[in-house]
């Protein structure tokens, strides 16, 4: 068998091992100069430049320490004066049973230990079968391995070539010349992903906020990447979808962005993507979560606001808390001055003793520089709204008059403004009467800015003429 001859390079063969006093140790990682480009959507491009000694003519090269989730169809190999004949990705992992099954028809050494005096007896045996139990031929005897329950060591001369400790890419190449040269291996792999995490420390009295942005990358690809030059790409990469998720609905637009910005962030870009290169080379271990800082802005203006949205014909038995909204901008002046990759913003405030306490979080989508953001951090304990349908009269076949009363209460010692939105005003709805002038945001929504006095109440009434 030709393949047995090729064994020597990676797993040292038995005869060599027997003759040497020490066992040669494989190097810790077979990776060379690694670059990893990680996209948001659980996808990474790995480029690995290894120095390999390749003989002239046809030879077999092994690439250990590639991603365990490598997409073999995306592998490309480039080196001077080299062509690829074929490539295989071996998943068959080395284990005792796999080793025994592959040893059928081969000869192994058995070492029997005498249970009374510990004396060892060595014999050569031919493995006949490894089905349920192991049947061997020793000389002219046929035996079942360890049938008598006594200790028997089985020593294999070699490990079959395509059994690996870890998934390995093996490539047959044709080289025009012999010699060591850089071989560039590139492939796509899932299992590597990144997102942004933001820490915002909000100072309500000063109306300012300190923001730190962290890039969080996670490696579940089954392989560590040693001293990798790492580049993160923000933006969605169009991936060919498999048939079953083609009909998945598009994700809803991220609600926190109130106004999309039109400024260009001072970051390296490629096509429509922003690029975030890590300053230093880093080792990305398997099952590791790694965070690197990319944004640190202090004293950016930020303000707190209250919002409450009423659905059509909603009556609440109990007053409902208004949403607490943190408003800020990503613009160059009066803002964070950067584009924000998608992630979670965690908001903190200082308590009476000056310790930062968590007050809520909200996720954001990819946000261009110059955008206005309004993040819902939570619901206000002390600011509440109670919508009530006070009266509903049928005016005609498809015409209704509905009178709404919104009672707003404020238990804080400061006066607050609540942005009260009535939604669900479909079609040709009109507001015929209202206690305070509203702003029609769209055909569907009307907005009142309601001032609620400190430790007090305010009320808005409105009468709607609607089709439903």
């Amino acid at each position: 068998m030709r393949s047995w001859v090729l064994l020597s390079s990676a797993l040292c063969c038995a005869s060599a091992a027997l003759s040497q006093s020490a066992i040669p140790l494989p190097s810790q990682t077979a990776q060379g100069d690694v670059s990893v480009t990680i996209y948001n959507d659980n996808l990474a491009l790995v480029q690995d430049v290894r120095q390999l000694a390749i003989p002239a003519g046809r030879s077999h090269q092994e690439f250990r320490d590639v991603s365990a989730q490598i997409r073999p169809e995306t592998v490309s190999l480039a080196a001077p004066d080299l062509g690829v004949v074929e490539q295989n990705f071996d998943f068959d992992l080395l284990s005792p049973s796999a080793m025994m099954e592959k040893a059928v028809g081969e000869t192994v050494t058995l070492v029997r230990t005498n249970p009374a005096n510990g004396a060892e007896v060595r014999e050569r045996a031919l493995v006949l079968a490894a089905n349920e139990g192991v049947v061997v031929r020793i000389g002219d005897r046929i035996e079942v391995l360890r049938d008598d329950g006594l200790p028997v060591r089985v020593i294999f001369d070699k490990v079959p070539e395509n059994l690996r400790a870890r998934p390995t890419l093996s490539v047959t190449v044709q080289s025009d010349r012999g010699g060591t040269r850089p071989v560039r291996l590139t492939y796509l792999t899932p299992g590597l992903a990144w997102k942004a995490d933001y820490v915002a420390l909000f100072d309500e009295t000063a109306g300012k906020m300190d923001v730190q942005g962290w890039i969080t990358l996670t490696n579940n690809s089954g392989t560590a990447y040693t001293r990798a030059y790492t580049l993160l790409v923000a933006g969605r990469v169009a991936q060919a979808q498999s048939r079953y998720d083609r009909y998945a609905p598009p994700p809803p637009p991220p609600p926190p962005m109130r106004e999309a910005g039109t400024q260009t962030a001072p970051r390296p870009r490629l096509a429509d993507f922003y690029l975030y290169p890590l300053k230093e080379r880093t080792t990305i271990a398997d099952k590791q979560t790694k965070q690197v800082s990319f944004l640190d802005v202090s004293g950016t203006p930020a303000a707190k606001a209250y919002e409450y949205r009423v659905g059509w014909l909603a009556t609440a038995d109990q007053p409902q808390s208004a949403d607490t909204i943190l408003r800020f901008s990503t613009s160059r002046d009066q803002g964070l001055g950067d584009a924000l990759p998608a992630g979670i913003v965690r908001v903190y405030m200082r308590d009476a003793r000056g310790n930062a306490q968590f007050i809520g979080e909200h996720s954001i989508g990819h946000t261009p520089m110059g955008s206005r953001l309004g993040l819902k951090t939570g619901e206000a304990f002390d600011v509440k709204v109670r919508p009530v349908v006070e009266e509903r009269t049928r005016l005609g076949d498809s015409r209704w008059r509905s009178r709404m009363r919104y009672t707003l209460s404020n238990a804080t010692p400061r006066s607050v403004v609540v942005d009260l939105t009535q939604s669900g005003l479909w079609g040709d709805s009109r507001i015929t009467d209202e206690s305070q002038k509203s702003e029609r945001l769209s055909a569907d929504e009307a907005l009142w800015h309601v001032t609620v006095p400190a430790n007090g109440e305010a009320a808005v009434t409105a009468t709607f003429d609607t089709r439903y």
Partner: protein, 513 residues
């Protein structure tokens, strides 16, 4: 200084690739702020393995930072840590990167890290007790048992019937027994720094529980509230300054995403059936086989003690200490005034509110819609104002009403309340059996109009207030006789005082459109 001394003793520094690794084994001081789960229902018993709230842990640690590049490993962080939420401050030159390795030290991970490395294979002879060691290289990972390469060739660990084991020279630096967060930093000179490490962790929760005892006059209660904290994490926090936050926070996915795990070691061998595999033999003199050992266990083990409320796992700290309330943005923070120990997998209760002689109104209420009647409940009403005996934020929680009877407290009913701000009306509906019976009868039906009779019968020896919610004002009701019906908050309400041992009746018409 004890912290410094323990620091010098415990901080094992090891050189690896030009980078010093320092381990900070535990915090000097810690703060725990517990946030409740957004959607928890107070009716359910807590499951310490499945707490849906979370906590903000803030730790202060003293770290000796060497010159140059170093890695600082923070051991003893909560098992439910959300690593991307970690904030590290106080390092002289900031953080180069933060890492969390989800791999814990276990037989499997130890073997995995030694793949391709040299270990000692030790064998002990059963006959002579002689111990031999030889060098071996691990050739396969923990997923499919162990293949070893020795000078003689390739062998499988423990497929032989020989007593053999692997001896590793040391624990790899990146494996810890506990979940560990690490940061890489750089310093121009050696320095001692006080580092603050804050992070969110899942597996915590808290609850408010109100206990109201009705005074003999039937118009006042003594109100008492507990805050009950639960820590389902395997980590204990000693002498922690402890807070609970009330109010509703917006949270994204607060589930554990990359929990620390111990890689199991699976030792599988080649097929090992023999010519006698089908026979059941009893081992004599050796270990009894698994199933026998298990059945022995089952017989011998005493039954587990009955879980008891107020037992060892619930620590009642006593009324001498009361949580102090302060404002935190639009949330309410309850601070336990002294440091307490939040032990692993336990509950702790501290008094939160103690208000004597709060005026309340008790009334009976039933709701109906069209001709359907829903069950009658007892309602405790109060107004959360200082001049009316309250006037303090009331976080959402369970509510139990007790009444004294000959010196004993009897439970009248249980219910729950939402977050109530100062100035708000408070209403708790108690699911309690009542002696006030309500009946709704359809007397007559003509086309779309139904004529109904609502009867309320009071079997108690005292007068009661009864309130019926006849429906929303969108429903067209008319022809009321026997009582006065008002429109309130978009509902038709009939409110009546029913004298002791008597009945009242309301008749009205509804129109179905």
């Amino acid at each position: 200084m004890r912290p410094i001394a323990s620091l010098l003793l415990l901080m094992a520094a090891s050189q690896a690739a030009g980078q010093t690794s320092i381990t900070s084994p535990r915090p000097d001081s810690v703060g725990v702020t517990v946030y409740r789960s957004p959607g928890s229902s107070d009716a359910n018993e807590w499951n310490l393995d499945w707490l849906e709230g979370f906590a903000l842990i803030s730790e202060r640690r003293t770290v000796a930072i060497p010159e140059g590049d170093s890695e600082i490993r923070f051991e003893g962080v909560a098992g439910g840590i959300i690593p991307e939420s970690a904030i590290v401050s106080g390092l002289p030159d900031g953080v180069v990167e933060k890492n969390q390795d989800a791999d814990l030290l276990s037989p499997g991970s130890l073997l995995g890290r030694y793949l391709g490395r040299r270990v000692q294979l030790q064998r002990t002879s059963k006959a002579t007790g002689k111990v031999t060691q030889q060098e071996a290289i691990i050739r396969s990972g923990p997923d499919g048992a162990v293949v070893l390469q020795t000078k003689e060739g390739f062998e499988a660990l423990r497929c032989t019937g020989i007593n053999e084991t692997l001896i590793y020279p040391e624990v790899p630096a990146s494996l810890s027994d506990k979940p560990t967060l690490s940061v890489r930093t750089h310093s121009d000179r050696p320095a001692s720094a006080v580092v603050t490490l804050s992070y969110l962790a899942t597996g915590f929760d808290w609850r408010a529980n109100y206990v109201a005892t009705l005074r003999p006059d039937g118009r006042h209660v003594d109100l008492f509230a507990w805050v009950t904290l639960a820590n389902g994490d395997p980590t204990s926090f000693r002498n922690a300054s402890t807070n609970a936050v009330a109010g509703r926070l917006n949270t994204e996915d607060m589930r554990r995403r990359n929990p620390a795990r111990a890689t199991p070691l699976r030792l599988r061998c080649w097929p090992q059936s023999t010519t006698t595999s089908g026979l059941h033999t009893r081992n004599i003199g050796g270990f009894p086989d698994q199933s026998i050992a298990e059945s022995l266990n089952r017989v011998a083990a005493p039954p587990p003690p009955m879980p008891e409320r107020g037992g060892d796992d619930i620590v009642v700290t006593g009324v001498r200490m009361k949580a102090e309330q302060e404002e935190l943005g639009d949330l309410k923070l309850y601070r336990i005034p002294e440091p307490v120990t939040v032990a692993a997998r336990s509950q702790k209760q501290v008094a939160m509110i103690e208000q004597a002689n709060v005026p309340v109104d008790l009334l009976y209420r039933s709701k109906m819609s069209g001709g359907d009647l829903y069950s009658t409940v007892l309602v405790v009403k109060a107004v959360n104002r200082r001049d009316l005996g309250l006037g303090l934020p009331l976080p959402a929680g369970g509510f139990a009403l007790y009444e004294e009877w000959r010196g004993r407290a009897l439970l009248v009913g249980e219910g729950s309340t939402g977050d109530k701000a100062v100035g708000e009306k408070v209403e708790v509906e108690l699911s309690a059996p009542t002696n006030v019976n309500v009946e709704l009868k359809t007397l007559e039906r003509r086309k779309e109009i139904a004529r109904l009779a609502l009867t309320v019968a009071n079997a108690l020896p005292r007068p009661v207030v009864y309130e019926a919610e006849l429906g929303s004002t969108e429903q067209r009701l008319s022809g009321f006789t026997g009582g006065k019906v008002v429109r309130e908050d978009g509902k038709w309400i009939w409110r009546v005082s029913v004298p002791a041992n008597s009945t009242r009746e309301l008749r009205y018409e509804t129109r179905q459109d």
